[in-house]
């Protein structure tokens, strides 16, 4: 099965979405590799995003000595491999096929607070190597730890890194390599936003989801709608209106409230229901009343945020915007149920 890339009519799509041409088995479990220099922040990222480690606790992480593999079970199963920075994976002692085959994305972490020339050299060597062996791996460069840089210095550093990588690649005769850049930090939402974008490229159904979200927004004048994997706080799709980090932030903070309150009160066992121990959260199978739902109404703005569980692993979050009188709730409920129905056709439960 091939998938047409809806937005990019160019002959060779820059990013592959979902199909894994390197995959030996086609089992559809994409793997994300975290690579970069020692202490660039790979384990911190993995722990903060996938284990909810408080960012300040990453100060105590020790250097990684062997590859650490995490499996994520969600609407799509994927693996995250945290690679120690101390080895040279291009060395022939490593079986590069073992490491690089079947990967969906290579996330290369560069410490923007440190000297980065060597990191760039290694990154480019890796890209060149991949170009000859696994040419369609998405390379995602995280210009990381930008929290420590002043605004001006931050954008200068970012531009410098992008420029150097692209110059060196084009000197080596490689144009249009599938390389993207992000500014990230574990101390704010940027790392989650970046991961969301990395993962979206691996979802074949993305264009369909975007179209559904666009329709929802248009029908009930919603400002912005996101489809979240609520446990990881990664969003797998949003409508195609411009996104900004602020919209992601408000949704992510909203999820925190929901997750916390649900954890606190959702587990009190109902005498008639059997609860299993462990991570019985909002994403888990429902008991009692219908799917989780939430609404925040502001004193000064009317309805403002809306959340509804629409799939075992997926939650719809809408920023209703400044103009959403409380009586529009019925219209939204209706359209969301239409959306929910369409979604079950994309992702059968």
């Amino acid at each position: 099965m091939t998938l047409d890339d809806a937005d990019t009519p160019s002959p060779a799509p820059r990013f592959h979405t979902g199909k894994l041409p390197n995959s030996k088995t086609q089992d559809g479990k994409p793997r994300l590799l975290l690579m970069g220099q020692r202490r660039s922040g790979k384990s911190s990222i993995s722990n903060v995003v996938f284990h909810k480690l408080p960012p300040s606790e990453t100060l105590y992480l020790e250097t990684t000595t062997k590859i650490k593999k995490e499996s994520m079970h969600s609407f799509m199963d994927f693996q995250v491999w945290d690679l120690p920075g101390q080895f040279d994976y291009l060395d022939s002692a490593f079986d590069s096929a073992e490491i690089f085959s079947e990967i969906g994305a290579l996330v290369w972490v560069i410490d923007a607070q440190d000297e980065y020339l060597e990191a760039i050299t290694k990154l480019n060597a890796t890209i060149l190597k991949l170009q000859s062996t696994f040419p369609s791996i998405n390379v995602e460069v995280f210009v990381h730890k930008v929290d420590g840089l002043s605004d001006d210095y931050r954008s200068d550093t970012y531009r410098d890194i992008v420029q150097r990588v692209q110059d060196e690649l084009s000197d080596a005769g490689v144009e249009n390599a599938p390389v993207s850049f992000y500014q990230t930090s574990i101390y704010d939402h940027s790392i989650f936003e970046a991961f969301s974008k990395v993962i979206q490229k691996l979802i074949p159904e993305l264009p369909t989801l975007e179209a559904l979200l666009n329709a929802l927004c248009a029908n009930c004048r919603i400002e912005k709608a996101y489809l979240f994997d609520i446990v990881s706080k990664i969003y797998i799709a949003t409508d195609t209106s411009p996104t900004d980090i602020g919209s992601y932030e408000i949704c992510s903070d909203y999820i925190d409230v929901i997750i916390d309150i649900t954890e606190i009160y959702g587990k009190i066992p109902d005498p008639n229901e059997e609860f299993t121990n462990g991570a019985e959260q909002i994403g888990a199978k429902e008991v009692g009343n219908g799917p989780a739902e939430s609404l925040i109404t502001l004193e000064k703005k009317g309805n403002y945020l809306y959340l509804r569980e629409v799939h075992q692993y997926l939650t719809l979050i809408c920023i209703l915007g400044d103009d959403s009188p409380t009586d529009r709730k019925g219209l939204i409920d209706y359209n969301v149920s239409v959306f929910e129905h369409a979604l079950t056709q994309v992702f059968p439960r």
């Binding site: 408080p54 409230v257 929901i258 009160y265 989780a292 939430s294 925040i296 502001l298 004193e299």
Partner: protein
């Protein structure tokens, strides 16, 4: 009911050496600062006063006492009675990272002596602060060690004083401050009784009454037969609601002081939860069984009970709602956030 109610002014001293984090915690709890913004605060010159009105008739009169040696010297000598008389609570902040713990203890002892002399019935809350700087597994032991040493220097207060490990980076700050507020509220019992009745009527599993600006809990009622295993849930809810308020303020552009929600509702597996405004300064968080009819009658009944809760408040001169946390002129720098 129509006896003239008087506002209870409660004087609270916030002391500890310079840099211990006193103004930082004040900014986070009372002035809607997010933790990472406290770096902007400068050292406190002399004393900064702020008045915070809570539910009922509590008016908190907070003295944030700059901790530089010269100022402390002055409190202990020229201003001794002015500073240390009629104190209800002394909050003493120790910096866990301090390299001169023995000097801190000496400074503490001097202050205790003055307090014993001028306000022997005061209560002391000792906050061992910046705990985030200590590795999680070492915290308890370190806390115990410090508690021993501090208690030994606390004279007549040693028996009644309370200790809390705190950090502006997590909910521990709310745990400590909730206890302080609870201790200070004069009519907590009356409020609790009224809440209990309300909880019965609406069949609530839990009710939490909290102050809107600080998100500190005033009091709560639990009715659910099954014990909730999350014993830290109250400070956790304070902390999450505070963070959320800041997030909403940032996103909507409404100042944090007035970015209040009219209502938040969550309907999920096994429970329903909502938060609504109760009185001028308080919100009520309600957890009920998951049934639409309970939800609807609960909202209605709370609406009807608002008047009787409002009557617990002292008739205050009409002021804008946001103004309820405004301090005296010297707190100007804290109100920017």
């Amino acid at each position: 009911m129509n006896a003239v109610k008087r506002q209870k002014n409660r004087k609270v001293l916030l002391m500890g050496k310079s840099g211990a984090g006193k103004s930082s915690m004040r900014a986070v709890v009372f002035s809607n600062y997010v933790a990472k913004d406290v770096r902007r605060l400068g050292a406190t010159i002399d004393v900064e006063h702020s008045n915070i009105k809570f539910m009922g008739n509590l008016m908190l009169n907070l003295w944030d006492c700059g901790g530089q040696d010269g100022f402390v010297e002055n409190y202990l000598t020229h201003q001794r009675t002015h500073v240390f008389s009629s104190v209800a609570v002394l909050i003493f902040v120790f910096d866990i990272e301090s390299r001169e713990f023995m000097a801190d203890i000496q400074n503490y002892y001097n202050i205790i002596q003055a307090l014993e002399e001028c306000s022997p019935t005061a209560k002391i809350f000792c906050l061992i602060h910046k705990m985030d700087l200590v590795q999680a597994r070492l915290r308890i032991q370190l806390l115990d060690e410090r508690v021993e040493l501090i208690k030994a220097q606390s004279r007549g207060f040693a028996e009644t004083m309370e200790f809390y490990a705190t950090s502006i980076w997590d909910q521990s700050l709310y745990k400590a401050w909730t206890q302080i507020i609870y201790y200070l509220i004069p009519n907590a019992h009356t409020i609790e009784e009224m809440l209990k009745q309300l909880a019965e009527v609406i069949d609530a599993r839990e009710l939490i009454l909290y102050e809107r600006t600080t998100c500190l809990m005033v009091t709560k009622v639990t009715r659910s037969e099954k014990e909730n295993p999350y014993h830290d849930r109250f400070e956790r809810i304070s902390s999450i609601l505070k963070t959320h308020k800041q997030s909403m303020a940032k996103h909507t552009g409404i100042p944090a002081g007035s970015a209040n929600f009219a209502e938040l509702q969550i309907k999920a597996a096994g429970f329903m939860f909502f938060i609504t405004r109760l009185t001028e300064n308080t919100n009520l968080a309600v957890c009920i069984p998951p049934a639409e009819h309970i939800f609807n009658t609960a909202r209605l009944n709370i609406e009807l009970s608002k008047a009787s809760f409002a009557s617990l408040d002292v008739a205050s001169r009409k002021r804008p709602v946001e103004g309820s946390v405004a301090g005296s002129s010297s707190t100007g720098d804290l109100d920017r956030a």
